[in-house]
Symmetry: none
Subunit: 139 residues, 2 copies
Amino acid sequence: MIMLKKVMLKKMGTSTQRMNKSDLKLIAVLERTGGFASAQELHQILRREGDGIGLTTVYRALQSLVDDKIVDLLRREDGEAIYRLCGDTHHHHLVCKSCGDTVEIEGGAIEKWAKTMAEEFGFRDVGHTAEIFGICSKC
Amino acid sequence: MIMLKKVMLKKMGTSTQRMNKSDLKLIAVLERTGGFASAQELHQILRREGDGIGLTTVYRALQSLVDDKIVDLLRREDGEAIYRLCGDTHHHHLVCKSCGDTVEIEGGAIEKWAKTMAEEFGFRDVGHTAEIFGICSKC
DNA sequence: TTGGAAATGATAATCATTTCCATTTTTGTG
DNA sequence: CACAAAAATGGAAATGATTATCATTTCCAA
């Protein structure tokens, strides 16, 4: 798994902490399933496969992966958290409120806007979040 | 209240149902507070003002306003539902990660970006969120 | 081997949101 | 005005995701 290696390197490089077994399991499932999945769903998948991992550990691993920017956290329409492996580039999302379909989009304008605004108000060390949601053409 | 009238007409026009007292109360609070608010917060505000409205009713009224597209439903980062009047020109925030100070900023570039992206991918009925985080000059 | 730190997972707690249901208010009609 | 039907209301309990607690287990360096 090329992706898995890349991800591991990324984490080892940016953090002093090692990646633990649970983190790896979660990454593997997310890779395999491809799309989004909630913590509950990921837990069920692992259980179904005979893994005795606890729900608590799933939440903890996901949280740590999100902190390390290895996994993206988004929200379903009902507010439930859903997770997905990040790509390497910083991107934003266009999410369908109805079917959950997601498109990764360019955010050049946003980067510029964030930078400009931060400068104007004397902020430093800035980051930003930006998401667009609507109804996709299929729905 | 010009806005209030406009909103009422909109509702009466698109629905056979009349707008009830609770709906009006919620709209009034949302107008007054201007920004976003969660159901719990709206309930507290009304209670604080001596209104004995029940939490259930607040949720019901908000749901109905959302159905009638009078109110937008968004999500906080933690998944809690937040509501705002549709058509409000909304602003974005520049938040200091250290002291919590917040500046309301213009988001013209974002609005345009969101619209462009949505069109490009065939999405309709779109909204967006965008926040900038950083360290302010005082910190 | 061993001592301590990190990881784990069952259970309980938390919190927003929904569901249920009995009561109250509103509405239309004679 | 009176009255029955319909709509609205709100308290309490249920639900479901997420988080906190804590005792136990695993890992690893010395």
